[in-house]
Symmetry: C2
Subunit: 555 residues, 2 copies
């Protein structure tokens, strides 16, 4: 039941970006700061900000960088309307000069450049995911919107990637978290970035429309409970595929099968729920090629499974192929084994090969931990549907990305904090990913932007960021420059990627990781290090910060 939308669907996304991310979707202090820069004539100074997170999420060793596409659209469309400016006039102190609002009305991102890792890349704590450079006032005004677009996108994408790692490559993963997300757009972001992170399909129709994500779904419990008796089965016939256009009394046919199934499975006819049978019949007659009911509305063993088998066998007799069942409560492993055993019994007794390939979908508040446990227990689940724990990222509901000033007017800037991990790494940088002989990345090196890149085959000394780590000497077999020019002169510099294309980037990026970095529990830390030159810059700035300021009182 996949949606066939194979285009990138970018026009729809662009059309709505101004509606979704207006430039006032920002913290007020950016405007007060922008005014202070403007008032003191610093607004045009060239500034460089970096966006990064401080700790790898979910106690893992990596994250996935996502949200870039929306950031680029946001930059391209960044402009204040008259209504925006009127509101700012009311929100800022009355003393704010009118000319500042004219200045705001004239702003755009034509002077802004953005360099970043490709969307979908594996990234690590404390390395810049994005570098945003341009006039100080403008790049300051972009902060919150860019953080808002990257933070959750990267978090849920990383979460989805972990679910994918936990489930292994073969099991199909269904995202179904819309109703539990942070409102409509939270739900759309969840569907979009879960798919990119490794899910196969979503229940979210709008995500199918906007992003070309395959969508799926059959029935909820309400469909089953809306039926109470066979009298409600108004359509009673189906075409026999092999003898079309003959219509067969499908209800009678199913009743016949029901007797045989009860006998085979040892089920009591009086425990079978008539309303459930009526619901299954109505659905099967409506969609005979797509029969996949939820079978736990009353009791899987006593009613749902028996009704399913009867209807599915009747469908097979007429030449249709039922798809499978969904389990939504109880012990999913045990139930999936019981269901598979019953399906095999039917297959053998009634010689119905289609019963070999029926899908068992399980959906019941599945967490990453539950998925790991599922893998450690015998089960017959083919497809897992995940909602709440995926979209809320319950294990760690924030990535905590920050956006920090590293250079202004060509001079590196650094923040020294009361909390050491809140200190920043100064200066404009180049980031190189160093690969080992097996093609696995083993270290990301942060360099001063203008120093020569590391060379493959040449040893280099560097300073890991981890607290109290000793300097390292390493020799990369290959060196990759992580960041690319993404936005300049008001234009997006790289072709936009569809969700499916970014999904492929995620998978190849994760595949390149060494298994010791991919472990969900207790992975080896991936090393992010400073080059000698950058380390010297940090040391110098630290020293200067405690030295030179005795001049303040000098005059």
């Amino acid at each position: 039941m996949a949606a066939p939308c194979s285009s990138t669907c970018e026009p729809a996304a662009e059309g709505s970006i101004r509606e979704r991310v207006p430039p006032l979707l920002s913290d007020l202090y950016h405007f007060t700061m922008a005014y202070a820069y403007w008032r003191t004539g610093r607004h045009h100074e060239h500034a460089v900000f970096e966006l990064y997170f401080r700790e790898n999420p979910f106690r893992g060793s990596f994250a996935i960088f996502a949200g870039l596409g929306d950031c680029l659209l946001f930059l391209r469309n960044f402009r204040f309307t008259d209504q925006d400016v009127d509101f700012l006039r009311s929100a800022l102190p009355a003393a704010t000069e009118p000319a500042f609002f004219k200045f705001l009305r004239s702003l755009d991102c034509s002077g802004v450049t953005l360099r970043s890792a490709p969307e979908g890349s594996v990234v690590f704590a404390r390395e810049p995911l994005m570098e945003v450079a341009g006039p100080l006032a403008v790049v300051q005004l972009l902060e919150t919107s860019l953080l808002c677009l990257v933070n959750y996108a990267s978090l849920v994408c990383s979460n989805a990637a972990r679910f994918r790692l936990a489930s292994g490559p073969r099991r199909k993963l269904l995202e179904m978290g819309l109703r539990r997300a942070q409102g409509p757009d939270g739900g759309l972001s969840a569907s979009r970035y879960s798919y990119i992170g490794g899910f196969d399909v979503s229940s979210n129709v709008q995500a199918g429309l906007l992003f070309g994500i395959p969508v799926t779904g059959t029935m909820a419990h309400s469909f089953v409970t809306s039926f109470s008796s066979l009298d409600q089965v108004s359509l009673q016939t189906l075409v026999d595929v092999k003898r079309a256009p003959d219509q067969v009394d499908f209800v009678s046919l199913t009743k016949g099968w029901l007797g045989r199934v009860c006998e085979l499975l040892g089920a009591e006819p009086r425990k079978i729920h008539e309303g459930e049978l009526a619901a299954f019949l109505s659905y099967a007659i409506t969609y005979p090629h797509h029969f996949l009911p939820v079978i736990d509305s009353y009791s899987v063993a006593r009613s749902g499974l028996v009704n399913f088998c009867a209807v599915a066998l009747a469908l097979c007799e007429l030449g249709y192929r039922p798809l499978g069942v969904r389990l939504d409560s109880g012990d999913l492993c045990k139930q999936s084994l019981d269901v598979r055993r019953a399906l095999r019994l039917c297959r053998e007794r009634f010689s119905i090969p289609a019963f070999d390939s029926l899908t068992i979908i399980a959906t019941n508040n599945i967490s990453e931990q539950a998925m790991v446990e599922l893998n450690n227990k015998e089960n017959e689940v083919d497809v897992l549907g995940v909602g709440t724990h995926l979209v809320t990222c319950s294990k760690q509901p924030s990535l905590g990305c920050v956006y920090k000033l590293v250079e202004v007017g060509g001079r590196p800037r650094m923040k020294f904090s009361e909390d050491p991990e809140k200190s920043t790494i100064p200066g404009r940088k180049a980031i190189y990913r160093l690969m080992d002989a097996d093609g696995h990345p083993f270290l990301d090196l942060l360099c001063v932007a203008v120093e020569p890149p590391p060379e493959a085959g040449h040893p280099l000394r560097c300073h890991p960021l981890a607290a109290a780590a000793a300097p390292l000497s390493v020799t990369p077999l290959k060196v990759i420059c992580l960041h690319r020019d993404m936005f300049a002169r008001g234009q997006v510099m790289q072709p936009s990627c569809s969700a499916a294309e970014t999904k492929a980037t995620v998978q190849s990026s994760i595949q390149s990781l060494h298994p010791r970095h991919k472990q969900l529990q207790g992975p080896d830390a991936y090393v992010v290090a400073l080059s000698e030159k950058l380390h010297t810059l940090v040391t110098d700035l630290r020293r200067d910060s405690t030295k030179k300021n005795n001049l303040i009182l000098g005059n």
Copy 2:
């Protein structure tokens, strides 16, 4: 720095609802089920769904119902476009009849009624927050969108209400979570419903524009670190308010104060950060009436506090009133005490009364637990800014609302699940809140819709929902009918409420609760109970479900 927008701002909200919550923002299975209802002629049957949550969030005893306003706008605007229908044609099985898409194109909510508690009410687990009734196919199609609008709104509003309870009524609470929310709309919802739940002000400018929420903010660390020397202070003078229009050299004036402050506080001039002083001077000259810097970019005690005092004293000398300081790292309690002590010293030594009323804002990853601890320790924090833990609801990131069928074609429906707590309570209901002699609600009673309401002063027997609870006999002193007609015949039935009005409902609703239900840790459970009549209905349906289905194989 509050925004003066006092109108309800509803037009903007309505204008965007179709963009924010298109009717395809839904799970695909609603469409497959709607098709099955349509195909089998059941789509016009009258159905009743209830929206509720199963457990009170955050281990508390209550939640706040929020999101209603958006639900009503969604219903009023619910209509499929040609583009929607074209996409559905591609997403549904090819066998779906073309006439069904014509049917979808014609749908609206003119046949739907919605009854609910007023937005902002205290509500409890397992009681219906909303009852949605109308043609089966239509009310089924509304499920996911309504859940999406209520789930997070109610969760974050309840979370904000807990932060308010934890902080006490006097301390000012600032919401600043936009950058950590689930994308742009998650951030807007967070700001809107945090304010409604009890926060005073937000940093989110767009929330100010759309919902009339007061917005605030002054400066980030980047502003401070963007300065490195006093040479960057391009504007150097300020008007002396008492001797206007005379301009005074504000930099020199501040330097004079800096010497005195260093002496008074025992600070070393050489440890003072010149760039920080330049930033404070530039901001103060720009906004002399709104001086509230962040003082921990380098070291609070050695630099930030000293610089603040010097600039603030200079402002006071010229007749301005500085506002206060922000702390964003380290031990907030200890630092606030140190800061207050220094401010008092300045006030006494220099006889500056304005220093008595300076505000100390603290913002550093504050959780509910951190707020409770803050209240138990001596501190001088006047305003708390909360971001990540508030908007992500890290303690429990989902409310888990569900939408369940309780009646169809006038017959009560019930789901029996493998998990007992997933069973539903059948039938259309009236919900009464029973009050005790002190005006506190003590029990919410779910009744069959058509039974006579409980009467004040008359004892009644009821059946608490808690597992294994014995029947109770209670006598209410007052009885309130919780639900009201909110939507009928395509129209919203109650005047729309501004965020400020709903905020007032929340506060009065929480105030009415008995203190034992308001405790954040280990509160007494609030009793939700079934009337005798409803209890009998449940018992009858349970019995019937195991009895009458021996008829299926009868013909």
